[in-house]
Symmetry: C2
Amino acid sequence: MKHTSVVEDYLKAIWGLQQIERPVATSRIAERLDLTAAAVTAMIKRLADQKLVRHEPYRGVILTPAGELSALRIIRRHRVLELFLTETLGYEWDRVHDEAERLEHAASDELIERLARLLGEPERDPHGSLIPTAEGTVDREKLPALPDLPVDAPAAVVEVRVQSPDRLRYLGSLDLFPGAEVMVREQAPFGGPLSVEVNGAARVLARELAEQILVRPASRDEPSGDASPAEDAPGKAGAA
Amino acid sequence: MKHTSVVEDYLKAIWGLQQIERPVATSRIAERLDLTAAAVTAMIKRLADQKLVRHEPYRGVILTPAGELSALRIIRRHRVLELFLTETLGYEWDRVHDEAERLEHAASDELIERLARLLGEPERDPHGSLIPTAEGTVDREKLPALPDLPVDAPAAVVEVRVQSPDRLRYLGSLDLFPGAEVMVREQAPFGGPLSVEVNGAARVLARELAEQILVRPASRDEPSGDASPAEDAPGKAGAA
DNA sequence: TTCAAGGTTTAAGGTAGTCTAAAAATCTCC
DNA sequence: GGAGATTTTTAGACTACCTTAAACCTTGAA
Ligand SMILES: [Mn+2]
Ligand SMILES: [Mn+2]
Ligand SMILES: [Mn+2]
Ligand SMILES: [Mn+2]
């Protein structure tokens, strides 16, 4: 039931990659964790021994239910910690990942649950990612990205799926935090940039970045979502 | 400049033992860290290679200035974290040590300084231990223990040098937190227990425990200390 | 002054995790 | 249905710790 921090990071990586492709290839894990493929193969064997993954040689791995549960518990830790760092300690949203990456292995369940209570049992981290419950469950949501929006349709930023501190800092300078009100004004052809209104201000944004910004279109009838319960705006964490 | 968590724990242990006896014997370190003497000898070699300790074979080790600086920085982390856990998250004072023991290795300097700011740049941890400065300095203070007090002389608890959660919990149930007002009423002979008044309530306390409770006698003229600046009562952290 | 007790170090071996280089399997594309 | 490219796994080594058992100092008491 208790794993090393290295194992925890592997599980987290595999879980994330699994959202894209199952089974997960050795090389995908290697590049995400910045290790050689040989190291990953060796670790995969240990994970399989511990019944955390199933491995088909030369084919890849998938998490077992036990592995997935552990992964989600670590992801919960990571995201709760990230939110604590921005909300309580005033970190910028581009600086929280590395800190949380280490703390997630040292914090006890009790600490995480106390932090979650302090933060009001939050649903999303500073980047808008859903925080798994303490029991290890998350909804799988498929939201449109900014370039998927029709022109002039209002929407709200929900999640910014960007890791790089540089990019996050840049997006922050454009006010593109979860909760921001956005509207696509124009999409340049041939994969060109988007003209977007963010909280009323006109911005131009590289398509590559825009694709990582997930939004919820404003429903025309009601101000909130139609089928889902009213969203609580996560509040722009650590604005510059 | 950056050490493994194991190295950090060795430095911390050696620093603490050095306050009692210099040089520090292999076996003292082994028992404090719950390791075999052989493991300690091996590690001492590595520490000496890194110029963190000086080792005289068969005699013991002492920290170099670099080693002491590192030790004090880790002790600062540990104590700031402990205070955060009691003050901000409502932990009891007997539960914070283990948690801090792990977090101290994962938290960045920036995190610790932000916590310290949040906590008002505190001077003492929940047990009353002095928190080294960010620069890595602490005053060495020698306070009397409870059994050193003359009968009927009022004093204030400053530090409770007890590790064991059981004992801490017990002392907490007697209100013996830093800041408590105490007065020894009677000392049973032959190493017997002490009768002590704690915040006005009569208590009986084993001498062994009383010896770990450091106090500052109230000066008869002024309510505060005479030479030192007024102490800020650390507030009874996590009272039951 | 010797010698045994007790603490310390060395020797040998183990686990977890990493790397490079080589071997093996799979994929791609003609 | 291969040949060659690409991935994956194996083999062999290395670092950081830890353990037990044996050898080695230091010391104090006879
Ligand atoms: Mn991590
Ligand atoms: Mn995040
Ligand atoms: Mn520690
Ligand atoms: Mn303490």
